[in-house]
């Protein structure tokens, strides 16, 4: 029988892999005794359950036709995540002004409707407003500009 790439099948595969990974990674966590359970007991219990459920999903997908996976929206996925990743990498060194502008610009690149002037204005307004709110208003210890 041909394996269908249904959402059930892929989800099952993810559950099984995640569960097996957690079991393997936590293999050395002590299980303890029945009356004094160790730190490994509960994760093992939960991971085994996950493997079991994943197996059920895979098994079922072989007999019951599920919904096929719809395509991924790669452009929004890549650009949005690129923006937030860069923010995380840069915020401590470059400050929230530069990294904030990058989030806005990358966010708009995720869409087909990129208007340079509007994006520039939007970035300026958002960074000023949100910076003022979090930095001045809530006096959170943020760094606005790069420090050399």
């Amino acid at each position: 029988m041909r394996i269908r790439l249904s959402t059930d099948f892929v989800t099952g595969l993810i559950f099984v892999s995640l569960g097996l990974f957690a079991i393997a990674y936590g293999w050395n966590y002590p299980l303890g005794t029945p009356s004094r359970i160790g730190p490994g007991y509960y994760p093992l219990l939960v991971s085994s359950g996950l493997v079991l459920l994943g197996a059920i999903l895979i098994g079922r997908s072989l007999f019951v036709p599920g919904n096929p996976i719809e395509g991924m929206a790669l452009r929004p996925l890549l650009f949005v995540l690129a923006g937030t990743f860069l923010f995380g990498l840069l915020v401590e060194k470059a400050g929230f002004v530069i990294s904030g502008v990058l989030v806005v610009v990358f966010a708009r690149l995720a869409d087909h409707d990129f208007r340079p002037v509007e994006v520039g204005l939007l970035a300026a307004v958002l960074v000023t407003f949100i910076g003022a709110l979090f930095w001045l208003g809530l006096s959170l210890p943020l760094r606005p500009f790069p420090q050399w």
């Binding site: 359950g49 996976i69 990498l89």
Partner: protein, 502 residues
Amino acid sequence: MDVLSNLGLGFTVALEPINLMYAFLGVLLGTAIGVLPGLGPVATISILLPVTFTLQPQSAIIMLAGIYYGAAYGGSTTAILVNLPGESSSVVTTLDGYQMARQGKAGLALATAALSSFMAGTIATFIIAFAAPALAEFALDFGPADYFSLMVFGLVAAVILAHGSVVKAIGMILVGILLGTMGIDVNSSLPRFTFGVPQFGDGIDFAVIAMGIFGIGETISNLGRGAEAREYVKDYKGLWPSPHDLKDIVKPALRGTFLGAALGILPGGGPVLASFSAYALEKRIAADPDRFGRGAIEGVASPEAANNSASQTAFIPLLTLGLPASPVMALMVGALMMHGLYAGPQLIAEKPELFWGLVASMWIGNLLLVVLNLPLVGFWAKLLTVPYRLLYPSILLICCIGVYSIRNDALDVIVASVFGLVGYVLTRLECEPAPLLLGFILGPLIEENLRRALLISHGSPSVFVTRPISAVFLALTAVVILILLLPAIRAGREKVFVEDAS
């Protein structure tokens, strides 16, 4: 009689102009900050905690309570308007509240949330005043085994929330529990699943996961849907509930209030479990359950009422047993201790003006919430007229700065981005992320109670069925699983038949 004179004492304290002012200030600040996507009550209270240090203890605790209600309501507002739950207990509100907003009923949804919360707040205040001592005694009877079974029941009941497959929903709960085990184990000091990263020693913050999945992931899904489908609804007619709407609100809100009040008292229950269970209950008893998730007004009224009444009754175990039932209550313990006060059974007796002043200010806080927010409903709803191409970069930027500001750790932003990816993939795989969040929150509590229960029973698992309270919850869990599985099996069969016919 005693209760009435106590409440009278409370109102004299709470109605002192200075305390009234702090309550108002707390509600205002709490709403203003809580309405920012991603900043829930925990973050809001943490940020505003220093403001209250200089106040008298009772003013401080009254203001903190005001901040808490304000932030909770602000969280519901963002849940409804932009589908971003600021806290775990407003996750449920996104399900139908956001759908109502998309159908042009944002104002109605916000008013429903405010009115249901006020109704619940009023009733819960009286419940606290009359039942606090007796109910505290009932909660004393709960052993670890009972808490364990209660929380397992709560998790399984939450599966009713998911639209799709039961197996997937339970799997998502387990994934959430597994994520919740990350960090240094409190009992053995063993780092679990920290991958050698020191920051993972405290585990991942709930807000990081929530903002990643609901802020970043949801934005990606929206962008992937194409221009037409993703615009927020522009007109928001029907700001005020019609008499017909009010009739629709009252009964679910009442059910939510009492369910929430009961669950809020139990440590480990609290607003999250209350709102999820209230939603599940409404969906279960509705004549037409298909409307849920598509903008059912009961789906907003009942969880919001439950959430609010549980938020209030959650003070009972805190103030009578010194047992914080939620992260917010843990913050309250911290705040009390900074004023040299220790939450516990002696508090009502030794500081009656503080306890009853707080009870009275809860009601006043709820009143202020309605007075402050109903006129502003139009203002919040106007947020929807902003074009999506301007709104989503703001959401992403607030998520980034918000996540970063939780503990000034840039790694959290990276982790949130990863959860953005996870959230997007989950929607593609038709997995609902809400059960994952609930598993993440309740997972550590379940482990702790499992450990304690087995310690007390000397390793015998029979304790879960021999203790009556635990046995009742486990029996209820079994019933829910049966109810869930029967239609799933039937639907699966029908699907096969449909395929065969075509």
